[in-house]
Symmetry: D2
C-alpha cells in the first residue's frame, strides 16, 4: 500500500510519518506540503537526518490520485473542506485529522469553527471514527473524520457510564489539560516559551470547538446528553492530555462495580487500559504511545464520580488513532505498527 | 518588632524570610530549625549568600519567648500541635502556616490528617485567618491559623457567590492545579524531576486534607454548604495554583452582573484583582506576588459559571498571606512590605 | 525625576518598569511603544492589572524631551541608531539597552550585527557601562551603552584574572548557557514551546554578536586579549545565564589564592558575590535579582581554572544593570531600588 | 535467547526492557531487583500496565545461571564488583552498565569512584565496549563494560580528530550538559523538581568519575592524550546529553575537510549521524533513539574547532548502546531492535 500525508511539516504529520514508516503494510509514504516543496523533509525535521530521504512534494491532486491509495490529511482547519471533494470518485481513501468533517450539524460547525462547512455530500460520506466505539462504520468508510484530541480522551472516559445510563448526563463537567504540541508547530506569542513555561492558562472558555464534537458523540450513545461543561487548560509540557471528568452517579454504584463496568466495556479494546482501584494514570504514562488510560473513583460524600482519562495528544489524540483507523479500514489487525510501550521517563 | 520563624529551612520559611527581611516594622528576624542548627542560613539557601548572616538556632521555647514578640510556624504537620501550647500565656503571638489549627472539628482533623488533633484549648483560641474574609477576628487574634494554599484560591473564588446565595452550593466542583513547591522541600520520588517534568498527575483523589477546610470556610459564609467536589493535580511548574471552579448559577445572572458582584465584594481588598469580561488570569500573572486574580464567566448553554482563581502558592497561599495577617494583627497597613508586582516572565 | 521607557512592551522594558516603579527617586515613569499606543500597558502585561494605569504613548521626540529627564531604550537592534541622535543637545540623558552603541569599532559592528552603525558622533559620546568596571565614566555619561547579557556574565567572571594578567588570554574559552527570555517577547519557531522544552540547542556558533563586545571589554583591561572562543546554548528555562569559562592559569596560583583575588577585586561591588571554595552558583540562585555570582576552581591536573559566573539575564543582564547605571549617573547610592533577594525556589 | 536484567526498577533497566521486549532475538526477558521482589513490574512502572506481566525476582545467582544466557547489570556503583565474579565460568555473558568495570587502572577507579575496585581477573576479562570503536573486541567479549553516558558523547565527538592527530590534544575542553534522568530514579534534594526546574547547575567540578574513562579511551586512540578539561552541567530536562567540545586544530583544516573526515570515519556506523555544514544537532533531535549526532565547525579567528555531540543518555548513553553491544556479541545485525526514529517534538 502506498500512502500519502498532506501537512507533513506539522506535528501531526511527522508523528504519522514516525508510525507509518515502520508499518509493515505501508510500502511507501509520500509527503506533501503546501508551504514547502522540493526540499528534503529532514530540513524541516532534522531528527530525521539520514532516516528520511523524502523530498516534500507540492499538492497536485492528479498526481496524488495516481501515486497513492490512501491519504492522510494533517492540515490546518479549512483545508480538508477544499481538498476532500477533489478526491471523490477516485480510489483514494482518506483519513482527515482536522476538525472539518467531524460535526454532522453544519450550523454547529459554522458557529463553533467560525468558517464555512464542507459540502453536504462529503459530510454524509464522512464517518466519525473513534476506533473503540465505531469499529463497524470505520471498516467501511472511504472518508474518515479522525476524532479530536480532547474528544478522544473525554469520550473514552465517559462512554461506559453514558451508554449504560448510570450517570446524570446533565451533571457532566470535563476539566481538560493539554500539552502545547496540541497547538501545532506554528509559533505565536501564546505558545512562546517564556509565556508558557511555569504557567497554567485556561483558554477558549465555553468556546472550544471540541465541545460540540464531544456532545455529538455522547449523544449518539445516549440521547439524553445535551450541553456539557467543558474547559481546556494549557500545561507547560510538550505532549499529553488529561481529562478530569465529574458526574453524579446512580446510588447503587461502588468504585469496584464501576471499574468492572469499564473493564468489561473495553475488554476488546487493546489500547484502553483501565487502572486498578485507587490508582490513577498520569499523562507521562502514555507518552509516545497509542494508549488511553482511565481511572475511576466514587466520592461517597458527594455522590459524584471522578474519571481521569489520559492520552498522548499526538498519538491516540491524532496520528496514532489515525493509523488505528487505517488498520481497521484496511482489515489489518487493529494494533499493527502501533502496539509499543510508552517512553518513560 | 522582633519576629521568629520556626521551619526556616523549608520553602514557606524562606519565602517568609524574603518578605520579612524587607518589612519596615520588623527590626530583627530570628530563624529556627529543628533539623539544622548553628549553621549559617545561607548554607541551606545559597541564594542568600551575603544577604543573610543568620545562624540557624535550635528551638528553645524559653529563649524564643525572651527574644521575640511574634512567631511564625512554617513547620510540617503535627509540629504546631506540640509547639503552640508551650507559648500559651506568653507574650508571643503566633501565626501557624501548617494545617494543624485550621479545622474547628477535631474529628474531621483526625479523619483527614490521620493524626491526633491539638488540644481544645488551642483550637478555641486559634482564629482561621483568610485575610479578606475575617479581618476583624484576625486583628484580635493571638494564635492565627493561616489558610492552606488550595483553600485560599478556592474560597476567594467562591465567597462572593456563596455568601450571596446565587449558586447552587450542591453543584460546586473545584478542579485545582498546583506547582510542585507546594509539596515542600523534602525530596521524594513523587517530586523527583524526571517523574514530574512533562507530566500531569492527579493525587489524593477525594482525600485531600484541604477539602474539610474549604467546606468549613464556605459553610461559615452560607450554611447550606455541605460536601463539595474537590480535586488536586500536580503540574510541572515550581509555583502557582489555579482553582477552576464550576457551579450552577441562578437564572437571572449574566457575566457582567457577576463581575460587578465580584468587584464590589472585593472593593476593599487590595490583593484581590477581578479581571475584565472574557479575560482569565494565568498562574504566572501572580508569580512571586501576594495577589489572587479571579476571572468569571457564565456558560449560557449549561447555566453554570466557570470561576478561575489563581495565586502563588508560596505567597498568597502561604508566606504572603501570613505577613498580610501579621500586618492586620499588628494594626499596620494591610499591604505593608507586600505590595510589589509579580515577576514576569 | 521623570523617566521614560521606549520599548516597554518587551521583556527588558517590563523588567525596567518593575524596578523603576518602586525606585525612590523616580517620580513618574512614562511608557512608550512603537507597536502599541493609546492602549493600557496592562493589556500587554496582565500581571500588572490594577498596578499600572499607564497608557502606552507613541514615540514623539519633542514630547519626550519635554516630559522626561531620563530615557531608557529597551528597543530591538537598529532603533537606537535612529533615535539617539534626535536627543543630542537635549537635557535627556539616555541608557540604551540594545547593542547599537556598544562597539567602538564601527566596522566590527557592521560585520557582527549586519546592519549600519550609528554615527561617529554618538559612538564617541556613548560610554560602555559595565557598572563594576567603569564607574567613573558612567557617572559622567550622557549616553550610556548598557552591556549585553552574555558579556556581563563573562566579563565579570574574567576581569580579575585578565586585568591581573594571571591567565593566558589566548586560552580563554567561554561556554555560555541562557534562558529563553533573552530572545525577547516576539514569537518564532526557534522559541516555540514544544521546540525548546526538554532540549538544549547551540546557536550562532562562532557568530554571536556579543563576541566582539566581550573582546573589546577584556582588551581594555589587558591589551594582550585578542580573539576568544565563545559559544551560546539555549536552555529550557525562562531566565538565567551561566558562563562557564576555562583558561590556563599561572603555575603559582591555587584555588584559595584565586578566590582571595576575586574577593578583593570585587570588595566594593555590592552586586558581585564570590562563592566559597568548592561551591559554585546555579542560575536560580540569582533569579529575579541583580546579583552576579561567581565560583572559581583550579584543576591541578590540567593547569586550567574553571570560572562559573551566573546572572539573571533580564536583571544584571539588562534592566537591573541599567538601573544600577542610572543610579551611578545620578549620584544615587548604587544599590537604590535594586538590593533585593533572589526569588527561591 | 533468554536474557535477564538486574536493576530493572531503575531508569536504565526500564529502558533496556523497552528495547529488549521488542527485540526479535529475545525470547524472554526476566527481571531482577534487590529492592523489590515478588511484586509486579508494572507496580514500579505503571506505564507498563497490561504490557508487562513480569514479577520482579530476587537475585539468586544459581537460578539466574540456570534460567538465562545473557545478563544485563543496570545496577548502582559497587554492585557489579560483587556480582560479576559469581558468574565467572558460567555460560552467562554479561553487559555491565555501571562504571565498575570500565577503568583498566584500578588505582584510578579507587581514586575517582572512592570505592574498592573489582578483582584483577574480572578487569582483565572485561572489554570496554564503545560500539563504534571496539567492534572486534566486543564481538568476542564475555563480560562487557558498557560506556558511560558522557564518555559516549565525548569520545564519539573526538575520536576522528584525536585518532587522526589533527588537534592539539592538550587543548581539549569538554563542556557537557545532561538531563536529569542520568542521575537515576532515586530521589534526592539535588534532583527535587523545584530545585532543578528553571535552573542550570554545574556539579562535580574537576571530579566527575567519567573523566578518567574519557581519557583512557582517547589515550587508546592516540598516546599523546593526557589530562583533559571536562565539566558537567545539570539541565532542566528529562533526557539528553550535549557535549560541546573545543580544541585547537591544525592550520590546514577547514570545516568542509573536517566534515569529510567525520563522515568517512563513521561511514560504517549506522547510529552516528554527521550534520551538514553550519548545522548543529540539539538533544531533542535524538530523543528516545540510539543516535549520536555530531556537528563540527572551525572558528578561523581562534584556530579552534567546536564539536557538538548529542545523545539520549538513556539510549546511546546506556540501554541503547548496551543492546547494540548485545547485538554485536551475538553476531546479530548491529541495528536489530534499535533502528527507530527519535520522538519529536
Amino acid at each position: 500500500m502506498k500512502v500519502g500525508i498532506i501537512g507533513a511539516t506539522g506535528y501531526g504529520g511527522v508523528e504519522l510519518y514516525r508510525i507509518l514508516s515502520n508499518h509493515p503494510h505501508v510500502e511507501e509514504c509520500i509527503l506533501y506540503s503546501s508551504s514547502e516543496m522540493d526540499v528534503p523533509y529532514s530540513n524541516s525535521f532534522p531528527h530525521l537526518h539520514q532516516l528520511s530521504n523524502h523530498i516534500l512534494r507540492d499538492i497536485n491532486v492528479e498526481e496524488i490520485k495516481r501515486d497513492i491509495q490512501f491519504l492522510f490529511l494533517a492540515t490546518p482547519p479549512g483545508v480538508s473542506r477544499d481538498l476532500t471533494p477533489k478526491f471523490q470518485g477516485s480510489n483514494v481513501r482518506i483519513i482527515d485529522l482536522s476538525g472539518d468533517l467531524r460535526l454532522k450539524d453544519r450550523l454547529a460547525y459554522e458557529q463553533w469553527y467560525k468558517r464555512p462547512c464542507v459540502s453536504d455530500d462529503i459530510l454524509e460520506h464522512a464517518v466519525y471514527g473513534l476506533s473503540e466505539l465505531h469499529k463497524e462504520e470505520i471498516m467501511n468508510a472511504d472518508i474518515l473524520a479522525n476524532p479530536g484530541c480532547f474528544p478522544t480522551a473525554t469520550i473514552l472516559g465517559l462512554a461506559p457510564v453514558v451508554q449504560n445510563k448510570i450517570i446524570d448526563v446533565k451533571s457532566i463537567i470535563v476539566d481538560a489539560k493539554t500539552g502545547v504540541s496540541g497547538a501545532g508547530r506554528n509559533a505565536s506569542q501564546a505558545f512562546h516559551y517564556p509565556e508558557v513555561n511555569d504557567n497554567v492558562k485556561i483558554y477558549k472558555v465555553h468556546e472550544h470547538q471540541h465541545i460540540p464534537e464531544v456532545e455529538q458523540a455522547l449523544h449518539s450513545l445516549n440521547e439524553a446528553v445535551g450541553a456539557i461543561s467543558f474547559s481546556t487548560h494549557l500545561i507547560p509540557m510538550t505532549r499529553g492530555i488529561m481529562a478530569t471528568i465529574y458526574a453524579s452517579v446512580e446510588d447503587s454504584y461502588t468504585t469496584e462495580k464501576l471499574l468492572d463496568l469499564y473493564k468489561s466495556y473495553y475488554a476488546e479494546s487493546p489500547f484502553v487500559r483501565i487502572r486498578e482501584q485507587d490508582v490513577f494514570p498520569s499523562t507521562k504514562e502514555v507518552y509516545g504511545s497509542n494508549f488511553c488510560d482511565i481511572g475511576v473513583k466514587l466520592d461517597e460524600r458527594t455522590g459524584r464520580i471522578t474519571i481521569v482519562s489520559v492520552i498522548d495528544n499526538l498519538m491516540k489524540g491524532a496520528a496514532g488513532q489515525a493509523v488505528q483507523n487505517f488498520n481497521l479500514m484496511n482489515g489489518y489487525e487493529e494494533t499493527t505498527g502501533l502496539y509499543f510501550a510508552p517512553i518513560y521517563p
